[in-house]
Structures are given as structure tokens and as C-alpha cells.
């Protein structure tokens, strides 16, 4: 396939390079791009092409600036800008607001919408997920069995999410998150490893590959040559190969520092059994990532692999897995950025038109001295170009600072493909929009110079701005209200309950619980496994979570139970939603529960408990059943729950003392843990609210500009009116009336647009009805009042009109 240069860059170059010279340079770049592809690969060639386009355009601009006439024009431009500093500052401010917002939104949204995934042939990558079938005995296939299906896959790899490892070095023992992967993992993703030492397959030891985040790992230990296999060893896995990747692998876990390639059998058949008396077992299954053969659709994989007794299989496109959740939000953010740009362009157009009218006399003089029309048009172009360059420079700096600050509050989903930053793509898109602002902004100058001063576009632009701002305000208001509802809901656990996840070879539950009960301030303690998901079982035909918990678990978490003093060790507790499916509104207490299997595991329901939002606040609570966890035997992973006003450091010390060598996570409030799950939604809400405020600011400035334009363009008419006896109040009303008409029409259009667009926000809303007209009308009224206030304020400009001078300038 013939490599194609980046389309946007190429289009911009061909659009800007209209001269013979420019066309030759563009053709050269097209030709050399192919050479670069062969020498350095497509990615590097594309980056080179973009750089070349930017530098070439800069070179052409510098040549233009050297022209004598241009220098004189620039001096004239600076004088003009300086003559009316307030208006110039207002334009710069408007452009900075719009361009900065766009740059930030583009940096956030680009990886999830426009930019292709940084993996080779990413559209052929799929993830295969398993769900245990009706029979608990159903076997999950091994990686080799997947790899044998060469009719479906080119290659299959597997990975497990990152887990903490302790690194022992002379400089200390920091903890790093290491993900387990099959040795061909990077090959399936198509990621080259830079500076990698050769690893011999005959080596008995598995290799460790340091990912891009490992740069920190390498440099923090003073290792400059990463091919040198002298890295400190991990606790259990010696490092045999090291290198860095250009692409982060954050999709495996946000804090992935290294990859450990391990035996594939172990990877897919990891199965840990709780050696208690109940016989409940859990198993951990790796994620399988496959590269489909060309022409094989993902749906064909499901139908080809799913058997009647085997696990249920879901095939998810890798792009959907990484980008799917964020794609609608990112697309919305991009659209919002463009709306802001539209509002800004409208404002700039009004500004240029007003200024051109103000300079009508100057233009007439120049024309009388022999200046051609294009020479007159060049002046507004240069003036606007100067303001745009200043605005662009400020916007780039400001957006870089904002993105830097955002890192602290950015949900991890947004960093899956790397932290957002001002890349060459962001610079390019923002510069392109800046050029477009100038192009759109000078069109009114062409229309109004030198004879015409009226334009239907004036009211149309302002009306559209009011409408767009109003629709954004309606959306932002709904999201804020939704978010408040979300945080205020009953989450099913007490706010003072703390959870501490603990992993190790053998966690002693009974001893730890006894020690925790003695921690000052503790009122209840318990332990629970993280559980496993069942597709359905013999009694309840819905997917649900099965968790093993110790007695006192419900008291420790603060969950309500029926009866309040239930004895879990004698049976099973089901959540409200499971109970509903079991007995259809009747109490399930005393009913038999069967998990199926051979022989079936049967128990009696001894109580019910409220649903807990284990999937996060934004999603419906997961149906769950709770079975007794024996405290007699140690297990490898458990979550301790402690309630009361306790010192979290003391809690960790207690667990560490009883279980030396265990990996103990930082204690976290159960309520906080659930709140984290809506971090993405919180961020989206505040982002849209910020954007909405920017839009409001721009639109108010725009309406203000429109009124200023009205005053300028009708100065002579007002002078005549003053001469024949009109009062200032009467003339002000004439100006305000036009602004009111614009606001009214814009508000009606915006209310309709916002009401319609709110339907698309339905999926993001929680306990808020998107289609409520009362909300739409209330928002419209508030926004309209702001606009009317701005119009009234600017209409005072008519007081400054001197009838004598105005009529003399006719």
C-alpha cells in the first residue's frame, strides 16, 4: 500500500503554498515522504512530514515579512492596534479563551477520536473475555489451545493486570507494579522494544521487559545503558532483558512499570482455591489478546469458539476496549471546542466589521490616492493576523500550563494512551483554527469596505452565538445536577468503614481479626474475599457476584440486613436484587439456594442485605450472594474491613505484624473507593461546565461587540436623530431593541437546540430528567438576562456621539 502523508498537514500546506515555489516545495515533501517511510517507518515519516510543513510555512512567512511593503504595513498595524487598546485586548482575550479551550480539549480527545491507536494494524486486535458458564466445572482453555486456532488468529497473547512487587536494591526497596504477560505479548501488539538486549529462548529464566514508564526505573538507579543486564532483580523474577517502549501500556493498569513474561500455562490456569471447609473456589483468568487473521470479523470468533459446556466468550475490539468508553465524551469535547471556536470567529468578524466601518474615511482617502481594493483588504488581514499570532502564542503557553495542572485530577482512563500534552498535532490543529479565525474574521471587512455597512450576517451570527451558548448552558446545568444526585445517594456502606486489601502467600485471617479488634477506636472488624462473578446458577438466572465473608462483615461495612442479627455461618445471605429474582417480592429467608455443579452446592438463605454499588456509583449495584468464609485457614488475598475512628497507620502495622511479608494496600474508606469510580464523570462534568462558562464569556463579549458595531454603523443616523430632537434614552432604546430581538430569537432557538441535545446526554445523567422544559426555560431566562445586561451596558456608547462631528464626517 502506498504510504500517504498526514492528510491534515498536507491539506494545510497545499492550501497555503499557492505560489509556484510553494507547490514545488509541497511536491518535494510528498516525494521525500516515501523515502522517509522506507528509511524510518511510517510513524517517524509522518512526524517528519508535519515538522517539515510547519518549518516550511514558517520559512515562507519569514520571506514575506522581509518585504519592504509588508514592514510598512506592519508598522501601520501596530499603530492601529495601539490606537484602540481596549478593543484589541478584547479580541485577544476572546481568541485566547477559545483557542486555549480548544487546545486543551483537543489534547484530551485526540487519542480517543482522531488519532489511530499506536499499535500495528490495531483494527485486527481483539480481547477475548471469559465468563464461567452454568457449570462451575467448565474448563477455561489454555493459551496453546487458542494459538492452535490459526484459522482465526495470526497470534494470541495473554496478560494479567499489574501487581505490586518489591524491588531489592542497595538504594532501597521501592515497590513497582509488574504485569505478567506471555512472551509474545509485545509482538502481538506490534510494539518494537528499543535498546533491548537479545534474550535467548533457551534461557531457563523468564525475561522482564521494562516499559516506557520504566525510564524512571532505569534512571533512578543510575543505569544509562539499558542494554546492559545489570538491573536490580525483582523479588521473584530476575531481569533478563530490558528496554523501553514508545507507547505506554496503561490499559493493563495505570501504574504499570514493568512486564514480566511468564509461563503461559501458569498464566491462563492460575487458580487459587480457598482451603476452607465450604468448598467454594475462585480462579483468576488472564486477559487474552489476539491478532485476527485478515478478513476474520470479531463476531466470527465468538460463534466459532463458544461451546455448549465451555465458558461464555465475549470478543471485544481492542480499539473499543481502550477508546470505547471515552469516545462519545471525547467527540462531544471536540464538538464543544469547535462550537467555542465558532462563537469566537463570530465575535472576531463583528470586531473587524466595526473597525472597518470606523476607518471608512481613511479607506476612502487611500482609495482616492490610488490604492487598489486588495491593498485596503490587506490592512484588516494584517491587523487580525497580528492579534491572532499573539493570541496563539498565549494560548499554547496557557493550555500547556492547564494540561500540566490537569494531570493531578485527570482520571486514569484519559492517560491510557499517554498523558495529554501539547503535541505537534495539537499545535497544528490549534494553529489551523487560528488561521481559520483570521480568514472568517476578515470576510466582513470585504463585505463592508468601503461602501456597505449593513449586513444580515451581523444578526445571524449573534443569534447563533446566543443559541449555542444557551444549549451548552442547558447541558452543563443538567450534568452538574446529575452529579450532585450521584454523590448524595445511599451507597449501601457506612462512610466510616475502611477497607484494606492484603495479599501474600498465606494471610492469617483469625489472628489478624483478633489483632485488629484491639486497635483503639475500632468498633467492628471483618474480612472478605474480592469474590468472583457467576454468569448464572441453578437458582438465580442473572449474573452475580459471589463473595466469602466472615461473621460481622455487615456490621463492619454498615450494610443494612434483614434480620438485623443474622447468623451468616448457618447459611447464605443474598442482596436485595438477588432476593427479588429468587422469590418475586416474597422474603427469600428460609428458601434453599443451589449453585449447581456435581454434586450441587446447596444452602439456606438466612438473610438479605442492601445492594452495594460494587461496580461504582454510576452503574447499577451488582446482585451478590455472601457465603461464609472460614477464618481457620490462611488464604492468599483478602480485604479486611474495620469500622470506627481508627488510625490507618496503626491498622497497617497490625496487619503487617501478624502477616510479615504481605503486601498491604493503603487503607481506603469504602465510600471513597466507590466515589473514585465516578471520577471520570466528575471530570467530564466540570470540564463541560468550564467550557460552558468560556462560551458564556465569549458570547457576552460577542453581543457587546455587536452593540458596539451597531453604534458605529449607525452613527450618522443617530446624529441626525439627535439633531432633530431625539433624546439619548430614545436612541439607546433603538440600539437595545435590536440586541433584545437577537437575544430573544437566539434564546428560543437555543432552548429548542438544548432541549433536543439534552436527549443525547441521557446516558450520562443520574436521576435527572433530560427533557424537562422547566429546566430549559429557567436556564434560558438566566442566560438571556446576562445578554440583556451586556447589551444595555454597551448601548451607553451612543452618549459619546457628537452630532456635529459625526455629520461633518459624512
Amino acid at each position: 500500500m502506498t504510504p500517504v502523508p498526514p492528510r491534515l498537514s498536507r491539506a494545510v500546506l497545499h492550501a497555503c503554498a499557492r505560489t509556484e515555489l510553494g507547490r514545488d516545495a509541497a511536491a518535494d515533501l510528498d516525494e521525500e515522504f516515501r523515502l522517509q517511510c522506507m528509511e524510518r517507518g511510517l510513524r517517524a515519516a509522518s512526524a517528519w512530514y508535519r515538522r517539515q510543513v510547519l518549518l516550511s510555512l514558517l520559512a515562507f512567512v519569514l520571506v514575506l515579512l522581509r518585504a519592504e511593503r509588508l514592514r510598512a504595513d506592519m508598522r501601520h498595524t501596530l499603530r492601529t492596534v495601539h490606537r484602540d487598546p481596549q478593543a484589541s485586548a478584547a479580541v485577544i482575550l476572546a481568541m485566547v479563551v477559545a483557542l486555549t479551550t480548544f487546545a486543551v480539549l483537543f489534547a484530551l480527545a485526540d487519542p480517543f477520536t482522531l488519532r489511530p491507536l499506536p499499535y500495528r494494524d490495531a483494527d485486527r486486535l481483539v480481547l477475548i473475555e471469559f465468563e464461567r458458564g452454568a457449570s462451575p466445572a467448565s474448563r477455561i482453555p489454555t493459551l496453546q489451545e487458542w494459538q492452535a486456532r490459526t484459522d482465526l488468529f495470526d497470534a494470541v497473547a495473554a496478560y494479567r493486570r499489574a501487581v505490586p512487587f518489591r524491588l531489592h536494591t542497595d538504594l532501597g526497596s521501592p515497590t513497582f507494579h509488574v504485569a505478567s504477560v506471555s512472551p509474545n505479548f509485545l509482538d502481538v501488539l506490534g510494539l518494537p522494544l528499543r535498546f533491548a538486549a537479545t534474550w535467548s529462548p533457551s534461557s531457563a529464566l523468564p525475561p522482564v521487559v521494562i516499559t516506557s514508564d520504566g525510564e524512571t526505573l532505569l534512571t533512578s538507579f543510575g543505569i544509562t545503558d539499558s542494554t546492559h543486564p545489570t538491573l536490580p532483580t525483582l523479588e521473584t523474577i530476575p531481569i533478563m532483558r530490558s528496554g523501553t517502549l514508545s507507547v505506554p501500556l496503561a490499559f493493563m493498569a495505570p501504574a504499570t512499570h514493568a512486564l514480566a513474561a511468564v509461563d503461559v500455562h501458569e498464566l491462563l490456569t492460575v487458580r487459587w482455591t480457598t482451603p476452607d471447609q465450604s468448598g467454594w473456589t475462585t480462579s483468576g483468568v488472564a486477559n487474552v489478546i489476539a491478532r485476527l487473521r485478515r478478513g476474520v470479523p470479531p463476531t466470527a470468533v465468538e460463534s466459532a469458539l463458544e461451546g455448549p459446556d465451555g465458558p461464555a466468550i465475549h470478543v471485544v475490539r481492542f480499539a473499543d476496549f481502550i477508546q470505547g468508553d471515552l469516545r462519545p465524551v471525547a467527540s462531544g469535547a471536540l464538538a464543544t471546542g469547535l462550537i467555542l471556536w465558532t462563537i469566537c470567529a463570530g465575535y472576531v468578524a463583528l470586531f473587524t466589521a466595526a473597525r472597518t466601518i470606523d476607518r471608512r474615511q481613511e479607506f476612502n482617502t487611500r482609495r482616492a490616492l490610488g490604492a487598489a481594493s486588495w491593498q485596503l483588504w490587506r490592512l484588516p488581514c494584517l491587523e487580525l493576523g497580528f492579534l491572532a499570532i499573539v493570541s496563539l502564542a498565549v494560548s499554547v503557553l496557557l493550555s500547556a500550563a492547564i494540561l500540566h495542572q490537569l494531570q493531578a485530577v485527570l482520571p486514569s482512563e484519559y492517560t491510557t494512551l499517554g498523558a495529554p500534552a501539547i503535541t505537534s498535532r495539537v499545535l497544528f490543529a490549534t494553529s489551523f483554527l487560528t488561521v481559520l479565525v483570521v480568514v472568517v474574521g476578515v470576510i466582513p471587512a470585504f463585505l463592508t469596505t468601503p461602501r456597505t455597512s449593513q449586513g444580515w450576517w451581523r444578526s445571524t451570527v449573534a443569534t447563533a452565538q446566543v443559541a449555542l451558548t444557551l444549549s451548552l448552558a442547558i447541558g452543563a446545568g443538567l450534568l452538574v445536577q446529575s452529579h450532585r444526585n450521584l454523590l448524595a445517594q445511599d451507597i449501601g456502606v457506612a462512610r466510616d468503614a475502611i477497607g484494606i486489601s492484603t495479599q501474600g502467600p498465606a494471610i492469617l485471617i483469625e489472628e489478624t481479626l483478633q489483632a485488629l479488634a484491639l486497635v483503639p477506636g475500632a468498633t467492628a472488624v471483618a474480612a472478605a474475599t474480592s469474590g468472583y462473578r457467576m454468569r448464572h446458577d441453578a437458582t438465580v438466572p442473572i449474573p452475580m457476584l459471589v463473595r466469602q465473608v466472615t461473621r460481622g462483615y455487615f456490621a463492619a461495612t454498615g450494610a443494612h440486613t434483614t434480620p438485623p442479627d443474622l447468623r451468616l455461618e448457618t447459611g447464605i445471605v443474598v442482596s436485595t436484587s438477588v432476593a427479588r429474582h429468587m422469590t418475586n417480592l416474597e422474603s427469600p429467608i428460609g428458601h434453599a439456594y443451589s449453585q449447581g455443579g456435581h454434586p450441587p452446592k446447596v444452602g439456606t438463605v438466612v438473610g438479605t442485605t442492601t445492594d452495594v454499588f460494587t461496580n461504582g456509583l454510576a452503574r447499577p449495584p451488582s446482585p451478590a450472594i455472601f457465603v461464609p468464609l472460614s477464618t481457620a485457614a490462611p488464604i492468599p488475598a483478602v480485604q479486611f474491613v474495620i469500622r470506627g475512628d481508627v488510625d490507618s497507620t496503626a491498622v497497617r502495622q497490625v496487619i503487617s505484624r501478624v502477616n510479615p511479608g504481605a503486601d498491604i494496600a493503603a487503607p481506603q474508606s469504602l465510600a471513597d473507593a466507590l466515589s473514585v469510580t465516578v471520577r471520570h464523570r466528575t471530570f467530564t462534568t466540570w470540564l463541560l461546565t468550564g467550557v460552558c462558562l468560556s462560551a458564556l464569556l465569549l458570547s457576552v463579549a460577542s453581543l457587546w461587540g455587536m452593540v458596539a458595531f451597531l453604534v458605529s454603523s449607525r452613527r450618522h443616523e443617530f446624529a441626525v436623530r439627535f439633531t432633530v430632537g431625539a433624546t439619548a434614552a430614545h436612541v439607546r432604546w433603538l440600539v437595545t431593541r435590536e440586541a433584545l430581538t437577537t437575544t430573544l430569537v437566539g434564546s428560543v432557538a437555543g432552548a429548542g437546540l438544548g432541549h433536543w441535545a439534552a436527549g443525547y446526554l441521557e446516558a450520562l445523567l443520574f436521576q435527572v430528567e433530560a427533557g424537562r422544559w422547566a429546566w430549559t426555560l429557567a436556564t434560558s431566562a438566566v442566560v438571556a438576562l446576562v445578554f440583556v445586561g451586556a447589551a444595555r451596558h454597551r448601548s451607553r456608547g451612543v452618549n459619546a456621539i457628537d452630532p456635529v462631528r459625526a455629520l461633518r464626517s459624512l
Binding site: L21, D24, A25, L29, D30, R34, L35
Partner: protein, 105 residues
Amino acid sequence: MATDLGLFELLVLMATAAHGNHAYGVVIRRDVAASRGTEVSSGAIYTTLDRLERRGLLTSTHGDPSEVRGGRPRRYYQLTPAGQTAVAVNRAAINHLAHLATRQP
């Protein structure tokens, strides 16, 4: 004065001379970039070539249209006698200075 050239102009002129009748934008750009060890834009090369042509040091002719160039022909540059003189004079000056520099203790 034809010999009054900037360093970049001289590099472009010498790269053009090195390729004889086959000097065009791509090869000149690559040679200049290699000699400087930094990225050089195609736009900078062409604006310089244009300037040198207007100063009478270069002439240009078009080749055949090419598909890889979007149907545009290559523009080949050749040194004029004035251009050849400028290259010779500057080369001699550089050689002389280099010789002096190597003689210094």
C-alpha cells in the same frame, strides 16, 4: 556582489553544484541537512534557491511530471557562470582559512 553569500546560501549553492544537472529540492535539502547535522525545511531550501536564482547564480528548468509528486514536475537547478565563480571563490577562501587554522600551534 555575487560572492557575498550567507553560510546557508553557500551550502545550498555547493549542494546544487555537487549534483550537476540533477540537483533538485529533495537532494539539495538532504545534503544541506546532512552537512549541518540539523533539520532543514523544504521551504527554507526553496526560498533560498529562489533568492539565488533572482541574484543570477542559478537557473532552473522543469523535468517531466511525476505521479509520486502529485503530478508536479521536478524543478532542476544548475549553476550559472556567476554561480560557479561564487562557489570557486568561496571554496578557495574556506580552504585558505582552513589551511591557516591547521598551521596555528
